[in-house]
């Protein structure tokens, strides 16, 4: 990690309020391209909230107010921009696998169709590529017309990842994507994340410290709305600067 990769996101003095409650406090962070960034911290520390500010999913919550700036490739995404286009560029995978109650094919084709691709051959290709990228093609290629809800949790989650990839995003946000899965499925998703960073920037929120240390290049430790420490994962886990970080990582609280 010697070479300095260009920054995908640059966060400057970002604060977020739910009504009067300050959930994020003056966050500053540079997120480089083609890396996996892990956000760790105890429940309610603001890591998921911060994740959602990156593709403005927090717009959906009543009474949220955001101050500060997030630049994506130099454009402030809290200025007058098109949220829809932002979300096409910044895809999201949620905590619970949440495929739509339709066939696997229709799930993956949902995004491309929404964005105006109608040709069957083109859709077929996108669906296949996305499912292959999500490392689930071999498991589902014979039952693309089956309802996605009939799959196991781990398969559902990878279908959701394929669904996110089908939109051709640049960034993928993962909000505790393995917390509802068994260990084997979890490992598959982790391997997948590592493969995907060749093409995408991945930001992952996780409860699982081993997971963060296994797959991420950088880690940010959140506590009560503050970023306590942010740096290369190896440093954070082996040689934390802050006492609080060390306490959390060694399992003294959280």
């Amino acid at each position: 990690m010697a070479e300095k990769k260009p920054a995908k996101f640059s966060v400057q003095d970002l604060s977020l309020y739910y009504g009067d409650f300050k959930a994020l406090n003056q966050i500053n962070m540079e997120i480089p391209q083609n890396e996996i960034i892990a956000f760790i911290g105890p429940s309610g520390c603001g890591k998921s909230t911060f994740l959602k500010t990156i593709n403005r999913m927090n717009d959906l919550i009543e009474g949220v107010k955001v101050e500060g700036k997030i630049y994506m490739d130099g454009t402030d995404i809290y200025k007058d921009i098109d949220v829809i286009k932002l979300r096409q560029k910044v895809g999201m995978v949620f905590q619970q696998p949440n495929p739509f109650p339709m066939s696997i094919y229709d799930n993956v084709a949902y995004g491309p169709r929404i964005h105006g691709i109608k040709k069957k051959s083109q859709l077929d290709e996108i669906v296949e590529t996305s499912l292959k990228q999500a490392a689930i093609w071999d498991e589902v290629k014979d039952r693309l017309k089956k309802n996605a809800l009939g799959m196991s949790g781990g398969q559902q989650q990878r279908i959701c990842i394929a669904r996110a990839l089908a939109v051709e995003p640049e960034v993928i946000l993962m909000d505790e994507p393995t917390s509802a899965l068994d260990p084997i499925s979890t490992l598959k998703i982790e391997d997948l994340a590592v493969e995907l960073k060749e093409k995408y920037t991945i930001i992952i929120v996780t409860h699982n410290m081993q997971q963060a240390s296994r797959i991420s290049d950088r880690t940010a430790f959140f506590l009560t709305g503050d970023v306590i420490e942010y740096g290369e994962t190896e440093e954070i886990f082996n040689n934390p600067v802050q006492k609080k970080t060390e306490d959390y990582i060694t399992g003294r609280f959280g």
Binding site: M72, T75, I77, D80, I81, D82, I84, K85, L86, Q88, K89, H115, E168
Partner: protein
């Protein structure tokens, strides 16, 4: 794909337009309520103002309805509506609540499978069919036992209305009873109360507000019922009912009977009857809203 984050104005405008259409549809309900109130009240209050005004007191306290002689008294109709509704509530609520208790607390599964669809069906039967039943079954029976010559009577109305409000009372009371936490029952049974005692001392008091809402809804349905009642009420042109055998002329049937051919003052007076009915319904609606809101606060 467009990789620039600038706004897609055309799409945003389209989304706004559609949202506007949805909003207009959502306002249809509000507009309807306002229109109904304005038109009915405007037309119904008209005869009491201006040159040739009819005395509102004579209208509200009169006990004779004779359009040909320009006499319009609705007090005996109000009495008829109120008595019929009260009678239906007094009989229907206990029967309905006990039926609900049976369904929620005591019935074996098989019995529930019979009773619940029966009640749903009862709720769906059109009021004209209840009228046919009243005319073909209830009225002849009453004619046999009544001291009066005709079977059309307050009693007939009460019986048919009782049946008509049963489904409302039963289904709402049932959900209220089912909503009572299990722990209440366990606590009561644990203190040595019998099942019946538990139901009446612990469960029903806890379901009180739900049962009250059911009752109020029943009042609304009974007071507004028209077609079933029209055929069995007798609809006399005057006179307060003095026994359950007397004929009555509820407010609703007064409107339905004459509206098709009425004009001028008579028609306006039918709207005035509608205004009185509307006021009753408003009281019922507001009571109900108060009750359900209070429940929501809890």
């Amino acid at each position: 794909m467009d990789r620039n984050l600038s706004r897609n104005v055309k799409r945003d405008v389209w989304e706004k337009i559609v949202e506007g259409i949805f909003l207009i549809c959502a306002l249809a309900g509000v507009i309807s309520v306002i229109a109904i109130i304005v038109f009915v009240f405007y037309k119904g209050l008209h005869p009491f103002f201006g040159e040739d005004a009819y005395s509102f007191w004579d209208f509200i306290s009169g006990t004779r309805w004779a359009p040909s002689q320009n006499v319009y008294g609705v007090f005996y109709m109000i009495a008829g509506s109120v008595l019929a509704t009260a009678g239906a509530i007094i009989i229907g609520v206990p029967i309905g609540v006990l039926t609900a208790v049976f369904i929620a607390e005591m019935a074996p599964k098989g019995a529930v499978r019979v009773i619940k669809p029966a009640i749903e069906l009862l709720a769906g039967i059109p009021s004209v069919l209840y009228g046919a039943f009243g005319l073909g079954v209830v009225v002849p029976i009453i004619k046999e036992i009544s001291p009066m010559v005709q079977g059309q009577s307050l009693l007939a109305v009460i019986i048919v209305l009782t049946i008509m409000i049963l489904p409302t009372i039963v289904s709402l009371s049932e959900s209220a009873i089912r909503a009572v936490p299990k722990s209440y029952r366990e606590a009561s049974l644990g203190l040595g109360a019998s099942k019946i005692q538990t139901i009446f001392k612990a469960v029903l008091p806890a379901a009180k507000s739900g049962i009250l809402s059911a009752t109020v809804l029943g009042v609304g349905r009974a007071i507004g019922e028209t077609m079933a009642v029209m055929m069995i009420a007798g609809n006399p042109t005057q006179g307060l009912p003095n026994s359950i055998w007397s004929m009555v002329r509820p407010l609703t049937t007064n409107i339905a009977m004459e509206m098709s051919y009425a004009s001028g003052r008579q028609q306006e007076m039918l709207f005035a009857t509608g205004v009185i009915l509307f006021i009753f319904i408003m009281i019922v609606n507001i009571t109900l809203l108060k009750l359900t809101n209070k429940e929501g606060d809890k």
